[in-house]
Subunit: 209 residues, 2 copies
Protein backbone atom coordinates (compact mmCIF):
# COMPACT_ATOMS: atom_id res chain seq x y z
CA UNK A 1 0.00 0.00 0.00
CA UNK A 2 1.21 3.48 -0.85
CA UNK A 3 1.67 5.73 2.19
CA UNK A 4 2.42 9.26 1.00
CA UNK A 5 1.93 11.07 4.28
CA UNK A 6 4.35 11.24 7.19
CA UNK A 7 2.75 11.60 10.62
CA UNK A 8 4.28 13.15 13.70
CA UNK A 9 3.12 13.18 17.29
CA UNK A 10 4.41 14.55 20.57
CA UNK A 11 3.54 12.30 23.48
CA UNK A 12 4.77 11.17 26.91
CA UNK A 13 7.31 8.33 26.70
CA UNK A 14 6.37 4.70 27.18
CA UNK A 15 8.19 1.44 26.62
CA UNK A 16 5.67 0.23 24.02
CA UNK A 17 6.37 3.21 21.78
CA UNK A 18 9.86 1.94 21.06
CA UNK A 19 8.17 -1.04 19.34
CA UNK A 20 6.18 1.05 16.82
CA UNK A 21 9.07 1.48 14.43
CA UNK A 22 8.54 5.25 14.45
CA UNK A 23 11.56 7.55 14.46
CA UNK A 24 11.97 8.81 18.03
CA UNK A 25 13.34 12.11 19.36
CA UNK A 26 13.56 12.86 23.09
CA UNK A 27 12.84 16.15 24.85
CA UNK A 28 12.57 17.52 28.35
CA UNK A 29 9.80 20.11 28.77
CA UNK A 30 10.96 23.45 30.20
CA UNK A 31 7.72 25.45 30.22
CA UNK A 32 4.14 25.38 28.93
CA UNK A 33 2.56 28.81 28.46
CA UNK A 34 -0.88 29.69 27.04
CA UNK A 35 -0.36 32.64 24.68
CA UNK A 36 -3.81 33.20 23.24
CA UNK A 37 -7.25 31.81 23.98
CA UNK A 38 -8.57 33.06 27.32
CA UNK A 39 -9.63 30.76 30.13
CA UNK A 40 -10.70 28.09 27.64
CA UNK A 41 -7.12 27.08 26.90
CA UNK A 42 -6.99 23.83 28.79
CA UNK A 43 -3.46 22.55 29.21
CA UNK A 44 -3.03 18.87 28.54
CA UNK A 45 -2.09 17.25 31.86
CA UNK A 46 0.23 14.89 30.00
CA UNK A 47 2.50 17.79 29.03
CA UNK A 48 4.04 19.57 32.03
CA UNK A 49 7.33 21.27 32.96
CA UNK A 50 10.16 18.85 33.73
CA UNK A 51 8.26 16.00 32.06
CA UNK A 52 9.83 14.03 29.27
CA UNK A 53 8.19 14.23 25.85
CA UNK A 54 8.86 12.15 22.78
CA UNK A 55 8.41 13.09 19.16
CA UNK A 56 7.46 10.11 17.00
CA UNK A 57 7.59 10.31 13.21
CA UNK A 58 6.06 7.56 11.11
CA UNK A 59 5.05 7.26 7.45
CA UNK A 60 1.59 5.93 6.67
CA UNK A 61 0.02 5.78 10.11
CA UNK A 62 -0.04 7.67 13.38
CA UNK A 63 2.10 5.87 15.98
CA UNK A 64 -0.15 7.26 18.77
CA UNK A 65 -3.56 8.39 17.46
CA UNK A 66 -4.57 9.79 20.85
CA UNK A 67 -1.32 11.69 21.52
CA UNK A 68 -1.72 15.22 22.95
CA UNK A 69 -0.32 16.67 19.71
CA UNK A 70 -0.61 15.04 16.28
CA UNK A 71 0.12 16.34 12.80
CA UNK A 72 0.83 15.43 9.19
CA UNK A 73 3.50 16.80 6.89
CA UNK A 74 1.81 18.09 3.74
CA UNK A 75 2.73 19.82 0.51
CA UNK A 76 2.96 23.63 0.74
CA UNK A 77 -0.27 25.49 -0.07
CA UNK A 78 0.79 29.15 -0.15
CA UNK A 79 4.33 29.06 -1.53
CA UNK A 80 5.01 29.67 -5.21
CA UNK A 81 7.84 27.89 -7.03
CA UNK A 82 10.30 30.81 -6.86
CA UNK A 83 9.74 31.42 -3.14
CA UNK A 84 10.14 27.72 -2.43
CA UNK A 85 13.48 27.55 -4.25
CA UNK A 86 14.67 30.59 -2.32
CA UNK A 87 13.57 29.14 1.05
CA UNK A 88 15.28 25.81 0.37
CA UNK A 89 18.48 27.68 -0.44
CA UNK A 90 18.57 29.81 2.73
CA UNK A 91 17.06 27.43 5.33
CA UNK A 92 19.18 25.83 8.02
CA UNK A 93 19.01 22.06 8.58
CA UNK A 94 17.72 20.60 11.86
CA UNK A 95 20.43 21.36 14.45
CA UNK A 96 20.12 17.89 15.99
CA UNK A 97 21.57 16.72 19.28
CA UNK A 98 25.19 16.62 18.18
CA UNK A 99 25.94 20.34 18.03
CA UNK A 100 27.29 21.94 21.21
CA UNK A 101 24.89 22.15 24.12
CA UNK A 102 21.50 20.53 23.39
CA UNK A 103 19.44 22.70 21.06
CA UNK A 104 16.20 24.38 22.12
CA UNK A 105 12.95 23.13 20.60
CA UNK A 106 9.65 25.02 20.79
CA UNK A 107 6.30 23.52 19.85
CA UNK A 108 3.53 26.07 19.23
CA UNK A 109 0.12 24.48 18.55
CA UNK A 110 -2.28 26.90 16.88
CA UNK A 111 -6.00 27.09 16.24
CA UNK A 112 -7.38 29.64 13.79
CA UNK A 113 -10.86 31.14 13.75
CA UNK A 114 -13.85 29.97 11.71
CA UNK A 115 -13.56 33.29 9.86
CA UNK A 116 -10.11 32.28 8.61
CA UNK A 117 -11.31 28.91 7.35
CA UNK A 118 -14.22 30.55 5.56
CA UNK A 119 -11.87 32.73 3.47
CA UNK A 120 -11.28 31.68 -0.14
CA UNK A 121 -7.81 30.66 -1.35
CA UNK A 122 -6.94 34.06 -2.85
CA UNK A 123 -7.95 35.81 0.37
CA UNK A 124 -5.82 33.52 2.59
CA UNK A 125 -2.95 33.71 0.13
CA UNK A 126 -2.81 37.50 0.50
CA UNK A 127 -2.29 37.24 4.24
CA UNK A 128 0.47 34.67 3.95
CA UNK A 129 2.49 35.93 1.05
CA UNK A 130 1.75 39.62 0.40
CA UNK A 131 3.01 42.27 0.63
CA UNK A 132 6.28 40.53 -0.10
CA UNK A 133 8.35 42.27 2.57
CA UNK A 134 6.07 42.05 5.55
CA UNK A 135 3.75 39.02 5.51
CA UNK A 136 4.21 35.69 7.27
CA UNK A 137 6.42 33.99 4.67
CA UNK A 138 8.75 37.01 4.41
CA UNK A 139 9.11 37.30 8.19
CA UNK A 140 10.04 33.63 8.50
CA UNK A 141 12.58 33.93 5.69
CA UNK A 142 14.62 36.51 7.63
CA UNK A 143 15.32 33.87 10.31
CA UNK A 144 15.45 30.77 8.13
CA UNK A 145 19.25 30.51 8.31
CA UNK A 146 19.22 30.17 12.11
CA UNK A 147 15.78 28.87 13.05
CA UNK A 148 14.83 25.40 11.80
CA UNK A 149 11.07 25.36 11.21
CA UNK A 150 8.53 22.62 10.58
CA UNK A 151 4.79 22.90 9.98
CA UNK A 152 2.56 19.95 10.81
CA UNK A 153 -1.08 20.07 9.65
CA UNK A 154 -3.57 18.91 12.25
CA UNK A 155 -6.99 20.33 11.35
CA UNK A 156 -8.19 17.39 9.25
CA UNK A 157 -6.83 14.56 11.35
CA UNK A 158 -9.40 12.51 13.30
CA UNK A 159 -9.67 13.59 16.95
CA UNK A 160 -7.34 16.56 16.53
CA UNK A 161 -8.16 19.75 18.39
CA UNK A 162 -5.48 21.96 16.78
CA UNK A 163 -5.21 23.33 13.24
CA UNK A 164 -1.41 23.39 13.09
CA UNK A 165 1.56 22.33 15.13
CA UNK A 166 4.38 24.74 14.41
CA UNK A 167 7.79 23.47 15.50
CA UNK A 168 11.07 25.35 15.84
CA UNK A 169 14.57 24.28 16.75
CA UNK A 170 17.66 26.42 17.23
CA UNK A 171 20.95 26.65 19.12
CA UNK A 172 20.89 28.36 22.51
CA UNK A 173 22.79 31.36 21.14
CA UNK A 174 19.95 31.99 18.66
CA UNK A 175 17.29 32.33 21.35
CA UNK A 176 17.09 36.12 20.88
CA UNK A 177 16.58 35.73 17.14
CA UNK A 178 13.75 33.29 17.82
CA UNK A 179 12.03 35.71 20.22
CA UNK A 180 12.29 38.41 17.54
CA UNK A 181 10.71 36.05 15.02
CA UNK A 182 7.76 35.37 17.36
CA UNK A 183 7.32 39.06 18.07
CA UNK A 184 7.22 39.90 14.36
CA UNK A 185 4.75 37.10 13.58
CA UNK A 186 2.44 38.27 16.37
CA UNK A 187 2.61 41.96 15.44
CA UNK A 188 -0.62 42.84 13.58
CA UNK A 189 1.17 45.65 11.76
CA UNK A 190 3.75 43.29 10.30
CA UNK A 191 1.59 40.15 10.04
CA UNK A 192 -2.20 40.79 9.90
CA UNK A 193 -2.76 37.04 9.48
CA UNK A 194 -2.12 36.51 13.21
CA UNK A 195 -5.42 38.25 14.05
CA UNK A 196 -7.09 34.97 12.99
CA UNK A 197 -5.23 32.92 15.62
CA UNK A 198 -7.73 32.11 18.38
CA UNK A 199 -5.72 29.74 20.50
CA UNK A 200 -1.99 29.31 20.90
CA UNK A 201 0.37 27.57 23.33
CA UNK A 202 4.15 27.73 23.71
CA UNK A 203 5.91 24.55 24.80
CA UNK A 204 9.63 25.12 25.33
CA UNK A 205 11.78 22.02 25.42
CA UNK A 206 15.43 20.98 25.48
CA UNK A 207 16.83 18.20 23.35
CA UNK A 208 19.29 16.37 25.59
CA UNK A 209 22.78 15.99 24.24
CA UNK B 1 -13.19 19.46 22.24
CA UNK B 2 -13.48 21.30 18.96
CA UNK B 3 -13.91 19.02 15.93
CA UNK B 4 -13.69 21.13 12.78
CA UNK B 5 -13.39 18.30 10.27
CA UNK B 6 -16.14 16.08 8.95
CA UNK B 7 -15.10 12.57 7.94
CA UNK B 8 -16.74 10.31 5.40
CA UNK B 9 -16.19 6.67 4.61
CA UNK B 10 -17.67 4.14 2.22
CA UNK B 11 -17.77 0.68 3.71
CA UNK B 12 -19.76 -2.59 3.68
CA UNK B 13 -22.78 -2.52 6.02
CA UNK B 14 -22.72 -4.00 9.49
CA UNK B 15 -25.08 -3.84 12.44
CA UNK B 16 -22.49 -2.17 14.69
CA UNK B 17 -22.17 0.78 12.34
CA UNK B 18 -25.70 1.91 13.17
CA UNK B 19 -24.41 2.49 16.73
CA UNK B 20 -21.64 4.94 15.76
CA UNK B 21 -23.95 7.92 15.51
CA UNK B 22 -22.65 8.66 12.01
CA UNK B 23 -25.07 9.81 9.31
CA UNK B 24 -25.77 6.81 7.11
CA UNK B 25 -26.59 6.59 3.39
CA UNK B 26 -27.26 3.26 1.65
CA UNK B 27 -26.15 2.20 -1.84
CA UNK B 28 -26.15 -0.87 -4.03
CA UNK B 29 -23.00 -1.25 -6.13
CA UNK B 30 -23.64 -1.59 -9.88
CA UNK B 31 -20.11 -1.82 -11.26
CA UNK B 32 -16.47 -1.35 -10.26
CA UNK B 33 -14.14 -0.44 -13.13
CA UNK B 34 -10.42 0.40 -13.02
CA UNK B 35 -9.91 3.42 -15.28
CA UNK B 36 -6.25 4.21 -14.86
CA UNK B 37 -3.34 2.47 -13.16
CA UNK B 38 -2.26 -0.67 -15.02
CA UNK B 39 -2.23 -4.10 -13.44
CA UNK B 40 -1.36 -2.63 -10.05
CA UNK B 41 -4.91 -1.40 -9.48
CA UNK B 42 -6.03 -3.91 -6.90
CA UNK B 43 -9.76 -3.86 -6.39
CA UNK B 44 -10.86 -4.00 -2.79
CA UNK B 45 -12.63 -7.33 -2.30
CA UNK B 46 -15.08 -5.61 0.06
CA UNK B 47 -16.48 -3.54 -2.81
CA UNK B 48 -18.08 -5.67 -5.55
CA UNK B 49 -21.03 -5.48 -7.95
CA UNK B 50 -24.42 -6.18 -6.32
CA UNK B 51 -22.92 -5.64 -2.85
CA UNK B 52 -24.40 -3.11 -0.49
CA UNK B 53 -22.23 -0.17 0.49
CA UNK B 54 -22.82 2.42 3.18
CA UNK B 55 -21.60 5.98 3.34
CA UNK B 56 -20.98 7.15 6.89
CA UNK B 57 -20.45 10.81 7.70
CA UNK B 58 -19.21 11.87 11.10
CA UNK B 59 -17.72 15.06 12.54
CA UNK B 60 -14.53 14.77 14.58
CA UNK B 61 -13.59 11.15 14.05
CA UNK B 62 -13.68 8.45 11.40
CA UNK B 63 -16.53 6.01 12.06
CA UNK B 64 -14.54 3.21 10.37
CA UNK B 65 -10.79 4.02 10.19
CA UNK B 66 -10.06 0.89 8.12
CA UNK B 67 -12.90 1.37 5.62
CA UNK B 68 -12.01 0.75 1.96
CA UNK B 69 -12.53 4.46 1.20
CA UNK B 70 -12.05 7.28 3.71
CA UNK B 71 -11.91 11.04 3.29
CA UNK B 72 -12.21 14.41 5.00
CA UNK B 73 -14.12 17.48 3.88
CA UNK B 74 -11.71 20.42 3.78
CA UNK B 75 -11.72 24.09 2.85
CA UNK B 76 -11.17 24.78 -0.87
CA UNK B 77 -7.56 25.31 -1.91
CA UNK B 78 -7.79 26.45 -5.52
CA UNK B 79 -11.01 28.49 -5.64
CA UNK B 80 -10.94 32.27 -5.34
CA UNK B 81 -13.76 34.18 -3.63
CA UNK B 82 -15.55 35.21 -6.84
CA UNK B 83 -15.47 31.69 -8.33
CA UNK B 84 -16.73 30.24 -5.07
CA UNK B 85 -19.71 32.63 -4.95
CA UNK B 86 -20.53 31.73 -8.55
CA UNK B 87 -20.31 27.98 -7.90
CA UNK B 88 -22.54 28.19 -4.83
CA UNK B 89 -25.11 30.07 -6.91
CA UNK B 90 -25.26 27.56 -9.79
CA UNK B 91 -24.71 24.24 -7.99
CA UNK B 92 -27.53 21.74 -7.55
CA UNK B 93 -28.25 20.30 -4.11
CA UNK B 94 -27.82 16.57 -3.38
CA UNK B 95 -30.71 14.85 -5.23
CA UNK B 96 -31.37 12.50 -2.31
CA UNK B 97 -33.57 9.43 -2.30
CA UNK B 98 -36.89 11.23 -2.50
CA UNK B 99 -36.80 12.42 -6.09
CA UNK B 100 -38.25 10.09 -8.72
CA UNK B 101 -36.36 6.85 -9.34
CA UNK B 102 -33.34 6.41 -7.05
CA UNK B 103 -30.51 8.70 -8.11
CA UNK B 104 -27.21 7.38 -9.47
CA UNK B 105 -24.10 7.87 -7.34
CA UNK B 106 -20.56 7.44 -8.65
CA UNK B 107 -17.49 7.29 -6.42
CA UNK B 108 -14.18 7.89 -8.22
CA UNK B 109 -11.12 7.46 -5.97
CA UNK B 110 -8.02 9.10 -7.43
CA UNK B 111 -4.30 8.98 -6.84
CA UNK B 112 -2.04 11.62 -8.38
CA UNK B 113 1.64 11.27 -9.24
CA UNK B 114 4.60 12.31 -7.09
CA UNK B 115 5.32 14.88 -9.80
CA UNK B 116 1.97 16.56 -9.06
CA UNK B 117 2.61 16.75 -5.33
CA UNK B 118 6.06 18.22 -5.95
CA UNK B 119 4.58 21.19 -7.84
CA UNK B 120 4.38 24.51 -5.98
CA UNK B 121 1.02 26.15 -5.24
CA UNK B 122 1.12 28.55 -8.21
CA UNK B 123 1.94 25.67 -10.58
CA UNK B 124 -0.94 23.48 -9.34
CA UNK B 125 -3.27 26.47 -9.31
CA UNK B 126 -2.67 27.02 -13.04
CA UNK B 127 -3.82 23.51 -13.86
CA UNK B 128 -6.98 23.76 -11.80
CA UNK B 129 -8.20 27.24 -12.55
CA UNK B 130 -6.62 28.55 -15.74
CA UNK B 131 -7.28 29.21 -18.53
CA UNK B 132 -10.69 30.20 -17.24
CA UNK B 133 -12.72 28.51 -19.96
CA UNK B 134 -11.07 25.13 -20.14
CA UNK B 135 -9.46 23.99 -16.89
CA UNK B 136 -10.89 21.64 -14.28
CA UNK B 137 -12.98 24.15 -12.32
CA UNK B 138 -14.56 25.61 -15.48
CA UNK B 139 -15.44 22.15 -16.84
CA UNK B 140 -17.17 21.19 -13.60
CA UNK B 141 -19.08 24.46 -13.52
CA UNK B 142 -20.82 23.65 -16.83
CA UNK B 143 -22.49 20.64 -15.17
CA UNK B 144 -22.91 22.01 -11.65
CA UNK B 145 -26.66 22.58 -12.08
CA UNK B 146 -27.31 18.88 -12.78
CA UNK B 147 -24.41 16.95 -11.23
CA UNK B 148 -24.03 17.15 -7.46
CA UNK B 149 -20.31 16.92 -6.66
CA UNK B 150 -18.34 16.36 -3.46
CA UNK B 151 -14.58 16.21 -2.95
CA UNK B 152 -13.19 14.27 -0.01
CA UNK B 153 -9.48 14.64 0.78
CA UNK B 154 -7.73 11.39 1.59
CA UNK B 155 -3.99 11.86 1.05
CA UNK B 156 -3.11 12.93 4.58
CA UNK B 157 -5.35 10.56 6.50
CA UNK B 158 -3.62 7.71 8.34
CA UNK B 159 -3.73 4.42 6.40
CA UNK B 160 -5.27 6.00 3.30
CA UNK B 161 -4.10 4.80 -0.09
CA UNK B 162 -5.97 7.39 -2.19
CA UNK B 163 -5.37 11.13 -2.59
CA UNK B 164 -9.00 12.08 -3.22
CA UNK B 165 -12.41 10.51 -3.26
CA UNK B 166 -14.51 12.35 -5.82
CA UNK B 167 -18.23 11.73 -5.46
CA UNK B 168 -21.05 12.52 -7.86
CA UNK B 169 -24.80 12.13 -7.67
CA UNK B 170 -27.42 12.80 -10.33
CA UNK B 171 -30.83 11.76 -11.60
CA UNK B 172 -30.97 8.93 -14.13
CA UNK B 173 -31.94 11.31 -16.91
CA UNK B 174 -28.67 13.22 -16.38
CA UNK B 175 -26.46 10.19 -16.99
CA UNK B 176 -25.39 11.47 -20.43
CA UNK B 177 -24.39 14.84 -18.97
CA UNK B 178 -22.29 13.02 -16.36
CA UNK B 179 -20.50 10.95 -19.04
CA UNK B 180 -19.75 14.17 -20.93
CA UNK B 181 -18.32 15.69 -17.75
CA UNK B 182 -16.00 12.69 -17.25
CA UNK B 183 -14.91 12.79 -20.87
CA UNK B 184 -14.05 16.49 -20.65
CA UNK B 185 -12.13 16.07 -17.39
CA UNK B 186 -10.09 13.20 -18.87
CA UNK B 187 -9.34 14.98 -22.16
CA UNK B 188 -5.75 16.28 -21.97
CA UNK B 189 -6.59 19.04 -24.44
CA UNK B 190 -9.33 20.41 -22.23
CA UNK B 191 -7.87 19.49 -18.83
CA UNK B 192 -4.06 18.97 -18.80
CA UNK B 193 -4.24 18.39 -15.02
CA UNK B 194 -5.58 14.86 -15.61
CA UNK B 195 -2.17 13.76 -16.95
CA UNK B 196 -1.07 13.67 -13.29
CA UNK B 197 -3.72 11.08 -12.34
CA UNK B 198 -1.92 7.76 -11.89
CA UNK B 199 -4.69 5.61 -10.52
CA UNK B 200 -8.45 5.91 -10.84
CA UNK B 201 -11.48 3.68 -10.22
CA UNK B 202 -15.15 4.14 -11.11
CA UNK B 203 -17.67 2.74 -8.66
CA UNK B 204 -21.22 3.15 -9.94
CA UNK B 205 -23.98 2.79 -7.39
CA UNK B 206 -27.71 3.26 -7.01
CA UNK B 207 -29.31 4.95 -4.03
CA UNK B 208 -32.43 2.91 -3.27
CA UNK B 209 -35.65 4.86 -3.12
Amino acid sequence: MRAPASFTCFTPPSAELTQTGAKLTEYRVDSVTPIRGPSDVVLDARVAPRAELWRLEQPGALAVPDAPFIGATQHLVYTDAETRRDLVRVSSPEPGPGQGSGPVAVLIPIQKSAEWWNLAQDERQQYLAQPARTAHVAIGRRYADRIYRRLYHARYLPRSEWDFLTYFEFRREDRTAFLELLEALRDPGQNPEWAFVERELEIWMIRPR
